[in-house]
Amino acid sequence: MTVEVGTELPALSVRLKRGDLVRYAGASLDFNPIHWNEKTAKDVGLPDVIAHGMLTMAVASRIVEEWIGDPGAIVEYGCRFGRPVVVPNDDEGALVEVTAKVTKDFEDGTVKVNITAAFEGKSVLTGAFARVRVG
């Protein structure tokens, strides 16, 4: 597969609702109550329950795996957690919009893909990138 620097990956929108947070808590074994209990979240100064940073990171990785086909080609994945994704207790939840672009060819069969994830128009993951084997 030949991949040009500058290639934009098909965008991805993911809606996270309270039930998704509970499900991720169970699957990841991260039961921190700020991800499911409004009272605890507000007690520590958050506006409401927030998504696990690791859930946002995991959801954002889907943009790469859906593009590349074999997720085993993702050899590195990293990000900083910039802002929380606040998830209200309603049917709408929180919409996370993910974009990604190939920004560098390492010329060893891998490329760098920069990933952005936004919630309410603001970036929630900072400096997110994946190094992906394409050759």
Partner: protein
């Protein structure tokens, strides 16, 4: 009180082995909404050259969780868990985590820094098979918010 930089370089004993199962991978993949057949269907994973279903790139956080807790609750480190925020995360996969793997984690404290009243602790967890094959290097930077920060 700032964390003591004397703990930089500290390593922890290897964890109990973690057995990676197809069902745990499926549960995790479904929880993140991932639909790749490589996570869900052993035959599809094999067709891509894997031994069995592979795990999503962030699944390593599940494998390393117990080890990270050992660091977080290390009584000598005196880290105030109630003030800890996940700052950043990186996974380097030497190969994908695969169903059937028996994995061992060894945690190391790579860095402790302070900035504007917050402490930053970088924990590197080396995940390898019980036979010593390197699988994943996971780096977590934890921010310990200061009293006034």
């Amino acid at each position: 009180m700032p964390l003591d930089p004397v703990f930089i370089g500290r390593s922890y004993p290897p964890s109990q082995p973690y057995d990676v199962s197809r069902e745990k991978i499926r549960e995790f993949a479904e929880a993140i909404g991932a639909t790749s057949p490589a996570y869900l269907d052993a035959e599809a994973a094999k067709a891509l050259g894997h031994k069995d279903v592979i795990a999503p790139p962030t699944f390593a956080i599940v494998v390393s969780m117990k080890t990270n807790e050992t660091v977080m609750f290390d009584p000598e480190l005196k880290l105030d868990y109630s003030r800890v925020v996940h700052g950043d995360q990186n996974f380097t996969h030497h190969r994908p985590i695969t169903a059937g793997d028996r994995l061992v984690c060894v945690a190391h404290i790579d860095a402790i820094t302070s900035r504007m009243g917050n402490d930053m602790v970088t924990v590197r967890t080396e995940i390898s098979t019980v036979d010593g094959e390197p699988v994943t290097t996971a780096r977590s930077m934890l921010v310990v918010r200061g009293e006034d920060a």
